[in-house]
């Protein structure tokens, strides 16, 4: 199973990447995906997550082909 992970704004700068591709053999939660990709960087408290452009809770499972995005609180408007 392959999932695509994207980072935005200050979080992109913190992790030092804008995208990751992750191959997994069993479903992972959003939070677990973060931990696998960023083993040395605990997820900040305020991080928001979206799967396929909809907000999700961190315990949602990510499925094959999903696009998972992590980003800081939004500040538009």
């Amino acid at each position: 199973m392959s999932i695509k992970v994207r980072y935005f704004a200050s979080l992109k700068e913190s992790v030092g990447r804008s995208e990751d591709e992750l191959q997994i053999t069993y479903p992972l939660t959003v939070h677990a995906v973060w931990q696998q990709l960023n083993p040395d960087f605990a997820m900040p408290d305020a991080v928001l997550a979206a799967v396929n452009m909809d907000y999700v809770a961190l315990d949602v499972l990510v499925l094959d082909g999903d696009v998972l995005a992590f980003f800081p609180p939004v500040t538009g408007g």
Binding site: F8, A9, S10, V60, P73, T75, G76, G77
Partner: protein
């Protein structure tokens, strides 16, 4: 994993636009309204909010700002917000414009306009759209200060707080 129950929404038009160039809000609204011939005489109320860039923030002079966003998700979330407004208030038409990219002080950042028969609905719906845009649309501001230093705006100030849903 989880079920989505799709609901048919009433037929209401909305234009959502992300814009890299400078926005003249009054010209945009006038043009858009000129295209609403079928609604002429039906709406009694238009409520508009325009957000523009100040030249100061948190005590510092701000020289410019970069508006990053998540293409695709931005439009999807704005559409969803307007649909939620349409479910709650009998609005006839909406317009949402948001700048992206490099902006300067005095530039317009966001325009929200709602047309409805009665004023209470236009007032409520435009504010709902604006507050939800502030808390749910994936935009992020990075300021360039007068000193040349750059900083991410970490949170939106203000009244209403809504959880992402």
């Amino acid at each position: 994993m989880y079920w989505h129950f799709f609901r048919r929404l009433p037929e209401v038009d909305v234009l959502i636009r992300l814009c890299e160039a400078a926005v003249d809000p009054w010209q945009e609204i006038a043009s858009y309204q000129a295209g609403l011939a079928k609604l002429a005489g039906k709406y009694g109320a238009t409520s508009v909010f325009v957000g523009s860039m100040r030249d100061f923030n948190q005590g510092d002079d701000v020289r410019s700002m970069f508006l990053e966003h998540y293409p695709g998700m931005t439009e999807k979330q704005l559409q969803h917000i307007v649909e939620q407004a349409q479910e709650q208030w009998p609005i006839l038409e909406s317009l949402v414009i948001h700048r992206v990219g490099l902006v300067k002080p005095e530039d317009v950042l966001v325009v929200v306009a709602v047309w409805s028969a009665q004023r209470g609905d236009a007032f409520d719906a435009s504010r709902f759209i604006m507050e939800n845009l502030k808390s749910r649309a994936p935009f992020w501001k990075k300021e360039v200060l007068a000193s040349g230093a750059e900083r991410w705006v970490e949170k939106n100030t203000d009244g209403y707080q809504h959880q992402p849903s």
